[in-house]
């Protein structure tokens, strides 16, 4: 391989990362592209995971691209590989097994993981996550037929799951709080109508604050449901699974100390470039400077994330175009009183 062939590395194999790799291949046909992901599965549709509760348990049916896609597009896909550090000056990244790789351009599209508020962290072993295929299978295994799922927080990912759980004959209780409807910003005046819509869907809504906040999560007593939530006012709630849905937190531990600016996410300019000219970011991992709001903003949702992946790749390969969010982020009620989140429009 000649030395003037550029090496693009993409960290993350989600919507943003794959869209970016595809665009990079189109715009820089001779380049070398490496995609590094901590996931064992190739690119799968994370938004489609609720299908597990409809009986779809074959991981192959969640995979987006056919098996030879990466080979055909000459994208070296390195699965189950953890990046532990990035040196922005030397333009290298280090993998967990000590391998160091040089890059000409780096796109960080590592996404975000479920955020668990710090005061809930001690209960983590008793909670069921929902970020990966294996998580979804574990929840499905733990939830009996007509079982009772308790959702904490209630972001749009959780509410989307709730729709499926209700459709499949499960009971759903939402312990609501400030994260309900995240990332939509719902005013206190609007909130009651959306909560009423949830109840109309069949979700039992419990306002955590009215019960003195969540005091604990524990194993249920023998013969009773597997989990018990206690509240500050002494009341409790039992269910088969307890799942936290408090929004997401960027997955960027490996970028700490890299020399790239970070606040909550990687800080990027409107062209998605970080404070290092060779490093870009796209998707849930980045905060984009938004002139109209005079602040760094997160943009979530499948359409936004895909557009970010494409834009970052375009700018890596010579364009210098600004970010324009393609997705309306407004939460709405339909005429028949159903909640409509644009983040659910992924199919």
């Amino acid at each position: 391989m000649s030395s003037n062939v550029r090496h693009h590395i993409v960290i993350g194999s989600g919507v943003a990362g794959n869209q970016a790799a595809e665009t990079l291949r189109e715009r820089d046909p001779d380049s070398r592209i490496t995609m590094i992901t901590i996931s064992r599965l190739p690119f799968f549709n994370r938004y489609d995971l609720p299908r597990v509760f409809r009986g779809e348990r074959d991981w192959r049916r969640f995979i987006i691209y056919p098996a030879d896609y990466y080979r055909r597009n000459r994208i070296a896909l390195r699965r189950a590989t953890r990046v532990v550090g990035v040196d922005s000056t030397a333009q290298t990244l280090t993998l967990e097994h000590k391998e160091t790789i040089h890059f000409d351009s780096l796109l960080v599209a590592s996404g975000a993981g479920a955020y668990l508020p710090e005061d809930m962290s001690e209960f983590r072993p008793l909670l069921h996550g929902f970020g990966a295929f294996r998580d979804a299978i574990e929840v499905a295994d733990a939830l009996p037929k007509k079982g009772h799922a308790i959702l904490l927080g209630g972001d749009t990912i959780g509410l989307d799951l709730a729709r499926t759980l209700l459709d499949t004959g499960h009971r759903v209780t939402l312990v609501a709080g400030p994260y309900t409807f995240w990332p939509h910003e719902v005013t206190p005046e609007e909130r009651p109508k959306y909560v009423a819509a949830l109840q109309k869907m069949g979700i039992v809504v419990v306002e955590a604050q009215e019960r003195g906040g969540i005091a604990g999560v524990e194993k249920g007593a023998k013969g009773l449901a597997a989990r018990r939530i206690t509240f500050g006012n002494g009341s409790d709630l039992s269910g088969d699974v307890v799942m936290p849905f408090f929004g997401v937190a960027p997955s960027l531990d490996f970028m700490l100390g890299s020399g790239v600016d970070i606040e909550r996410g990687l800080l990027v300019s409107p062209n998605l470039r970080t404070t290092n000219e060779n490093i870009y970011a796209a998707g849930d991992v980045c905060q984009i400077w938004t002139d109209s709001e005079h602040r760094y903003c997160f943009y979530h949702g499948w359409k936004n994330v895909r557009a970010m992946g494409e834009l970052a790749a375009r700018n890596i390969t010579g364009a210098n175009e600004p970010w324009v969010p393609p997705q309306d982020e407004t939460l709405r009620l339909s005429k028949d009183g159903k909640i409509q989140s644009p983040f659910w429009e992924y199919q």
Partner: protein
């Protein structure tokens, strides 16, 4: 003890093998310890960390406590509130080695788990007849008083507050530092004849003691008054000249904490905005939670990654409900119709260049102002020194702190200064370390000579003190009080301390960097077994070595060509003291010696 010659490496290895112990003041030996024991070198008090952790491995908690006390007289205090520069430097935290050893938590173990009847051992000098006045009973003043009393001087501390401890008592909340621990350690520090005059202010008021009078009455005066004035907050427009604390609901964090610890009943509203990024800001926010604040937010100029607070403190604050919002600079306050604070107007920041100590510059963006509603504002952006208590004019540095000469003395003969009064707002351990350092300067000035000097003791060690398996022990987590219980009480200590089992596991993680592994090249048969078994590239075939300015060995010049190999060398900077090389060596040409900085008495 007189000077002893430094013995070259090979001789040291030989001596180790023979079982002899000797001391050296050769700069190369001292330089080796400073270079290779990063925790001790980073500690402002110079605590011999590997030694006290080794004592914990052996369950000798009292011995561990004494090792700590040689460098700092408040191990139980600093085991709770230290800023942990040692952990930032810990070799176990270097890339590829995992997490740093929980050095601070182990310091607390030494203090908490020592026998109830533990006997403190200290060597006293004969009385000198010299009298020293110390102004301020904070960490610097107390540390200096302790050491000066050991030197045989008569020490009197003047403290304006009713109780000693300075910021330890009046600045740090009880849920981080229980007062019984503080009281015990202060008592132990001052028990060797130090007179403590509390409630006696040094100043220029008629009922106060003058510095000039102290200078006349004593042989030396040490000013250790700390940083007691809140740094004014820079604001915009009409707030540039307006004093924000005149507005109901706005207070400086230091004043807030001091008043509370003096016994004033404090209260906060439901929405509390804390402005600042240090330990004081975090303490104020956590106090506000305990006082009933329902929405407590810390507003910082940069981002969490760059603020000078330990991650554990940030995590515990968040667990208690404190939120941290970054990239914002306060511009002005918003008042309601009654003139009470109703919000803070911030400007959005972007990150600029780097400041000293890994911190970042924040640059406000014009036109990006926004308002955060609140009903209480606590400003905790820093503290500064004041000099209005002194009737003696001292030269100040550019930061308006007392300027010291090499002998630790201010521009006024006989007046010394220590701690935050010299450095500006720093940390407890820095104050303790500086107090101790200035005590030696005062003693040298009073006695006309140095009575202590630093040396390295080199002691043979028969075999490796660790096992390779110890390298895979994860950092042990500090147990904490239940969330529901702790936020209801100002006195419920959050960190519960490591028990014996957790302490033993954590202590085993320490690499014991004060152990020096060396190969006797004359006996080595170059079988390479040690290289094969080494978990890191710590054993090198070298053609030469760079020599540092002080004679210490620098970077090794490696070679793979057999005809250029001059020696086989253990790179102690890479070595994690696992002992694998020692165990595998067929000719036993590898020796281990314990190299520790210590002080010896200099006879007249």
């Amino acid at each position: 003890m007189g000077n002893m010659p430094f013995r070259p490496d090979a001789a040291a290895a030989s001596a180790a093998a023979e079982g002899s112990v000797f001391v050296s003041d050769d700069p190369r030996a001292i330089g080796w310890v400073k270079q290779n024991v990063p925790c001790q070198n980073a500690c402002p008090a110079g605590t011999n960390v590997p030694s006290y952790i080794r004592s914990i491995v052996e369950s000798h908690y009292g011995e561990s406590y004494e090792v700590n006390r040689e460098a700092n007289v408040l191990p139980g205090v600093l085991g709770r509130v230290c800023s942990r520069a040692c952990e930032d430097a810990c070799r176990h935290g270097w890339p590829g080695n995992g997490d740093p050893v929980a050095i601070c938590h182990l310091k607390r173990v030494a203090a908490d788990l020592k026998d109830a009847g533990h006997r403190i051992t200290e060597s006293l000098y004969a009385p000198t007849g010299k009298r020293i006045a110390i102004v301020g009973a904070g960490p610097a003043g107390v540390a200096a008083a302790h050491d000066l009393s050991l030197f045989g001087h008569d020490v009197v501390i003047y403290e304006r507050e009713e109780k000693p401890g300075g910021m330890l008592r009046y600045g740090i909340p009880e849920f981080r530092l229980p007062r019984n621990i503080l009281d015990t350690e202060l008592h132990n520090a001052l028990r060797l004849g130090v007179q403590l005059r509390t409630g006696v202010a040094v100043g220029n008021e008629p009922d106060q003691v003058r510095v000039s009078q102290l200078l006349a009455d004593y042989d030396a005066v040490l000013l250790a008054t700390g940083c007691t004035a809140a740094t004014p907050i820079p604001l915009k427009d009409e707030w540039e000249k307006r004093e924000p604390t005149e507005v109901p609901g706005i207070e400086y964090g230091l004043d807030f904490l001091v008043a509370m610890h003096r016994g004033v009943k404090k209260s906060v509203g439901k929405r509390v905005a804390v402005i600042g990024a240090g330990f004081t800001a975090l303490d104020c926010a956590r106090v506000a939670v305990r006082l009933g604040g329902e929405e407590v937010t810390i507003h910082i100029r940069t981002a969490e990654e760059y603020i000078p607070v330990t991650q554990e403190e940030i995590f515990e604050a968040k667990r208690e409900g404190v939120r941290i919002k970054g990239l914002r600079s306060p511009m002005k306050f918003v008042l309601d119709a009654e003139g009470k604070v109703a919000g803070v107007e911030f400007a959005q920041n972007r990150l600029g260049g780097w400041r000293e100590g890994g911190r970042r510059i924040a640059i406000p963006i014009e036109g990006s102002e926004f308002i955060e509603p609140c009903d209480t504002v606590i400003i905790a952006i820093g503290q500064q020194t004041t000099h209005d208590f002194s009737d003696t004019t001292l030269q100040l540095d550019r930061w308006k702190n007392a300027r010291l000469g090499d002998n630790g003395m201010t521009s006024q003969p006989g007046v010394f200064a220590a701690g935050d009064y010299v450095s500006g707002a720093s940390t407890v351990v820095q104050s303790v370390g500086h107090g101790r350092k200035i005590a030696r300067r005062i003693d040298a000035w009073l006695m006309g000579r140095e009575r202590h000097r630093q040396v390295v003791s080199i002691e043979p060690v028969a075999k490796p003190l660790r096992e390779r398996a110890d390298d895979f022990i994860p950092r042990q987590h500090m147990p904490t009080a239940a969330l529901g219980k702790r936020v209801k009480s100002m006195a419920c200590e959050v960190e519960a301390g490591l028990d014996r089992k957790l302490a033993a596991e954590e202590a085993k993680r320490c690499y014991l960097c004060n152990l020096r592994y060396q190969i006797d090249v004359d006996r080595c048969i170059y079988c390479r077994a040690c290289i094969e078994v080494a978990p890191r590239s710590c054993i090198k075939l070298v053609g030469g070595v760079e020599i540092g300015a002080d004679g210490t060995y620098g970077k090794l010049i490696e070679t793979k060509e057999w005809n250029k190999i001059g020696a086989i060398w253990i790179d102690n900077n890479q070595c994690i003291r696992c002992g694998a090389c020692y165990n595998v060596c067929p000719v036993k040409c590898i020796s281990i010696s314990r190299c520790e900085l210590t002080e010896v008495e200099v006879t007249a």
